[in-house]
Symmetry: C2
């Protein structure tokens, strides 16, 4: 018998519908942002377009920024998962490079990715959040990297520095990729960036 107060069993169905609705709202938001521009769009408009009240929208997303950047959190988790499944003996930078390639599998076409990236880089007010949210990937990657590092005084710092540097290279590559209109392979640019950082001059 199920007692009424069984907090321990929050029907997974609820969670599931919640996730679906959330994803639906985010999709709608991205469409509106793409059309009107992020700064020129009010939360009110997004709510209307998604067919929910303003207040409900804030139940699903903690801020307007979140509407545009929630995808980045998922991407980070996928990258971390891919990295975790890489051969333990493999060179760290090799593993990172292939982990980042899951990005190719997430958004269907590269045109779509370009559209999103353009949006994220397009708004001054979004860029800060964008950079910060990607920096959070560091927290997922660093612990894994640390395990592969030889013993030293500052292993934790070293691991975080490596994760952060790799992410930074990806950001630089993405910005360049966006600048030239996505006409070359993003990961070719990423490799060039990493090479430049790690090569002695």
């Amino acid at each position: 018998m199920y007692h009424r107060c069984m907090k321990a069993s929050p029907p997974p169905l609820r969670q599931q519908t919640r996730a679906v609705v959330r994803s639906l709202i985010a999709q709608t938001a991205m469409a509106v942002f793409a059309e009107k521009g992020y700064d020129e769009t009010t939360v009110e408009e997004v709510a209307a377009a998604a067919g929910v009240s303003r207040r409900t929208l804030f139940n699903y997303f903690k801020s307007k920024e979140d509407l545009a950047l929630s995808g980045l959190a998922e991407q980070g988790e996928k990258i971390a998962a891919r990295f975790a499944s890489s051969p333990p003996g493999e060179d760290i930078w090799e593993s990172l490079s292939s982990a980042f390639r899951v990005l190719e599998e997430i958004e269907t076409t590269s045109e779509r990715r370009l559209e999103i990236v353009t949006l994220l880089f397009g708004s001054e007010s979004l860029r800060a959040g964008h950079v910060e949210k990607q920096s959070r990937w560091q927290e997922l990657l660093a612990p894994q990297i640390e395990e592969r590092l030889p013993l030293s005084d500052h292993r934790s710092l070293e691991a975080r520095a490596i994760a952060a540097a790799a992410i930074t290279c990806l950001q630089a590559a993405t910005e360049e990729w966006s600048r030239i209109g996505g006409r070359v392979d993003l990961f070719h640019l990423y490799d060039a960036a990493v090479q430049a950082v790690r090569r002695a001059h």
Copy 2:
């Protein structure tokens, strides 16, 4: 004879007083933030503490965030200036390392620096702006770095990647430095971070 409409000569005195007032307000703001916490302080309170109206405060700073982060812009310029004056033949990473050391000369004591850094890392809402603002240093450093780079297909990207990676290492080092209470040399940590990134594993 000075004609009334001489737009070409905006008395440098004005600019000077403006800068002084601005700096004064920023100082006051930091004091209030340090005492009450950034998020718990309203712009109104900072204005009152500085003895100006809310509206005037917004004439000097474009946002509340700017009150806390305006110092970072100046730091960036000083770092870039120092980098510019480094021996042209010197290793880039060597030059970057010594350029960053101007930070030691800006804030008098390391206790003071620790206090500021703690404030910046302390607030969730400040961190994004903090990271983004430091990332802007990249725009000052990258052009200089590019000049020192050998010719290649993606020199501009490479330069930006190197600048960004160095800044990222500084951020990681600063965070670690803050975590352990400033008891070691920040630049020792920075060097360790750079070593970790650039060494093959």
